[in-house]
Each structure stands twice: as C-alpha cells, then as structure tokens.
C-alpha cells in the first residue's frame, strides 16, 4: 500500500508537542523529530505518515483550526 507522507515544520518544541497531541487525538499518526537542516536553527518537524490520502490534508486543517503556526515541509506532496 502506498504511504502518504508530509511534514509540518514548527517553530518550537512547545507548538510541535501541541500539534502532535492534536493530531494523535484525531487518529492521525505522526512523529515528532528535530529538523535536520534549517536556516533558522532549532526547528521541529512533525512527520505525518498514513496510507490514507486525506491524512495530510486533514492534519493541516487541524493545525489551521487551532492557529498553530507551521510551514509545509519541502518534501511534502
């Protein structure tokens, strides 16, 4: 099965943790990790991976609804 994968880039661990909890509470699988390469430094990525095509869209919609500031990561669809 094809995995859909996308990344939300978050400015702080606090907001990344909040985002992670919001998504998991809605059944969206995600993983928090330190951003590997960033011009700003000290960023956090929330990697969303799902076999459902709508997962990334749903994830970003949740972050928007809760006013979580994020950027869509470079290798996201």
């Amino acid at each position: 099965m094809m995995m859909n994968r996308c990344i939300a880039e978050l400015p702080s661990y606090t907001l990344a943790s909040k985002a992670e909890r919001l998504l998991r509470a809605r059944g969206i699988r995600c993983r928090l990790r330190r951003r590997e390469n960033t011009a700003e430094g000290c960023g956090w990525d929330l990697e969303i991976a799902s076999d459902r095509r709508s997962a990334c869209r749903n994830a970003f919609a949740v972050l928007d609804r809760y006013d979580i500031p994020y950027r869509v990561g470079g290798d996201s669809p």
Binding site: S12, Y13, L15, S17, K18, R34, A39, C42
Partner: protein, 384 residues
C-alpha cells in the same frame, strides 16, 4: 518539633510526591528544548506536560503557560511587558511589593503614570474606587486576588469585567490564591501570575505566568530560547519569548507533582480544612482582649490571619513563638501598601506590621489551638 504556620511564604512540608519528583528529575532530565538527544527530549516532554497541567488547571493553553522563577518574576514580566509603551497603570492598595515596586520604578523613570485604588472590606466600594480611578489611557490594572497580609479576597471577577469592557489588561497576582480557590482565566483575567511553591506545593524557585493571548507581552529578558536561533531578535511566540535561558526543570517537575497533589485532594477540601483551622485560631485568640485580628467580619478570606498583641512588638512575639517551635512571620510581609491600608504602617500608628498565621493542608487544628494558648499566655516583656 517545628510546626510551620508560615505557609503563605512557602508551604512546608512538601507532599511526598513532590519530594519524589525532585529526586526523580535529577536523574532523568536534560535541558529542555535545547537539542534532539534523549536527555533533552525527556526534559522537553516533561516541561510540556507541566504546561498542560498548570495551564489546564487555570484555563490557559500550554503555549501560553510561561514557567518562571517565582511570582515576583512573573509580575515583573507582566507589568513591564504590558506597560512597555507607556500609559496609565492602576494597582490596588493591597499589593505586594512584587507588583508595587516594578510599577513604582517605571513611574519614577517617567515611563508610565501610576495610581492606586483603595481596597475596602466592602467589595462594591472597592469596584467603585477602581472605576473612579480609571483614565482614558489606563492600559492595565494590577490586582492581587487575595491579600498576603489579611487574606481578604478581592472581587476579581467584577474587576475583570470592568477591565474587559474597556479593553484594559487585567494582571492578577494569584500567589495566595492559586491552589486555594478555583481561578480561571475566563474569570476576566488576561494575565495570571503566581508562585508555584505556596498553594501548589512545588519547590521554591517555581512560578508561572499564564496569558489568555489577548495582550502581547514585550520581553524584559532576551537570550537563548531553543527557537529561531539564527536570528538576533527575540522570538515573538509564547512561551519561549518570555523564557530565555535554562528553565528550572527540577522545580517544574515538582510544580506539576504539587498541582496534581492539589487536584487529588480537591481545592475545595483544602480550603475547607485550612479555613476551619483559621476560624478556630481566631476563636481562640478572640478570648484575649489584648489581641487585634485584622480580618473584616464576614469578608471572604483565604487562610491567612494577621494579628497583633497589645504591648508586644510583632517581631518580638514571632521570636518568642519561634523559640517554642512555632514558625510565624512578623513584620510587613513585603506589602507596605496593604499594611498602610489596614493601619499598621505610617506615622502615628501604634505598631508597625503584624504577626501572620497561615496553615497548609498538613496543618492540624490541635496545633493551632496550642499555639493560640501560648500566644494568650505571652506577657508584654515577651516572657511567659
């Protein structure tokens, strides 16, 4: 044996879960938000859980939960951060120096105008005094939720309502109230400041500032936050914008444990227990006509009782009691405005300051009764 009735300064003893949290934290956590390795990650996760616990207790979002060193730290950040652009600041006549000094310092530097509204035992009068003192350029009102000298609870919901209708930032000092009374930011409080080591039973060196996000708080300390590190400008997002430098991670772990202890006991149960002890203590002291108790009859008070014994200076009385194993705080309690308000500071007053009695959830009524009997037996010279 030492019996602590100075819990308004810091609760002692601490719950076993708090002591365990301190020991556990020293073995488990690295610096929070400062890297991706396992030690840092465990610290970061713990700190986030503290924000969830403390924010959740008072109705703040985790990202609006700023961890500080104490209530004074929080109040300085709130007052200086909100009044950064100038304007009129209004504080109550029962404020602790934690609020009064930063306010007075800004006024002395000509950065703001400052006025004080009188607190009355009649809460309606207090809100009328507040209304009368408002100006067109009033930017913030700073008010303790309960006096650390008399325990008098101020009408914070009414004050919040007045501020909200005028777009004024309401900064509340919850040092004597958090963990003792139910408080929510939705009561009309824009910024709630508190220590974590009093009614919430964390270790000393803990405090917090909670924001509802309505008023941006200009940082008074800049530095490393673990976010947006390539920029020399301070990040704007809470909580990191107000948390430069390493947090008191061990203290934060104890703050969470303390807050969970309070929730497990129940705030109402804790208040009922401490209030019963205060009422019994007052009843015992009232048998001695030499004793003045500074508590308006019928007023809503947190468990703090200030009193004086005619002919015995407060510090001498507290020293006498300390020699007999009872810890009570005498003097001005860092709240000269409050003492001036109740008539225990100023020219011509018969005595400066009071002796303060403040129980905790661990205090026992029988100890308060024994203490009252020792007090009643005191002679003007201090000897029994």
């Amino acid at each position: 044996m030492m019996i602590n009735f100075d819990n308004a300064a810091t609760t002692f003893p601490k719950p076993a879960t708090v002591r365990y949290a301190a020991a556990n934290a020293t073995e488990r956590y690295g610096n929070a938000g400062r890297g991706g390795h396992a030690l840092s990650q465990s610290g970061s996760e713990m700190i986030y859980s503290v924000r969830e616990t403390i924010g959740g207790m008072f109705g703040a979002e985790p990202e609006n939960t700023v961890l500080t060193l104490n209530c004074t730290h929080s109040l300085n950040m709130a007052i200086k951060g909100i009044m950064h652009g100038g304007g009129h600041l209004l504080i109550s006549s029962m404020e602790h120096n934690a609020s009064a000094r930063p306010a007075a310092a800004m006024a002395a530097e000509g950065r703001i105008s400052l006025s004080v509204f009188d607190v009355s035992p009649d809460m309606q009068q207090t809100t009328e005094n507040l209304r009368a003192a408002l100006r067109s350029n009033t930017r913030a009102v700073v008010c303790t939720l309960a006096s650390n000298v008399t325990g008098l609870v101020l009408p914070w919901r009414e004050i919040g309502d007045i501020c909200a209708k005028r777009g004024i930032c309401f900064i509340a000092d919850g040092a004597q109230t958090c963990g003792i009374k139910e408080i929510r930011l939705s009561d009309g409080i824009n910024i709630l400041c508190s220590s974590g080591h009093k009614g919430l039973y964390g270790l000393t060196g803990t405090g917090f500032l909670l924001s509802d996000g309505a008023f941006p708080i200009h940082p008074v300390i800049e530095g490393g936050t673990g976010t947006n590190s390539s920029s020399l400008s301070q990040p704007e997002l809470l909580p990191e914008s107000l948390e430069s430098g390493t947090l008191n991670i061990i203290g934060a772990a104890t703050l969470k444990a303390g807050a969970e202890f309070v929730k497990s006991r129940g705030i109402d149960n804790i208040l009922a227990h401490e209030d019963r002890i205060c009422r019994r203590f007052i009843s015992e002291l009232s048998q001695d006509s030499r004793i003045t108790i500074y508590r308006p009859s019928g007023a809503d008070c947190v468990p703090v009782v200030s009193f004086n014994i005619s002919g015995i200076p407060p510090e001498r009385a507290a020293g006498y009691l300390s020699d007999r194993g009872y810890c009570l705080r005498a003097g001005l309690h860092c709240a000269p405005l409050a003492h001036r308000t109740i008539g225990t500071l100023g020219s011509g007053v018969p005595v400066t300051g009071t002796i303060r009695f403040s129980p905790s959830v661990f205090s026992r009524e029988e100890d308060a009764v024994r203490l009252a009997r020792v007090i009643r037996g005191m002679k003007p010279g201090g000897d029994k």
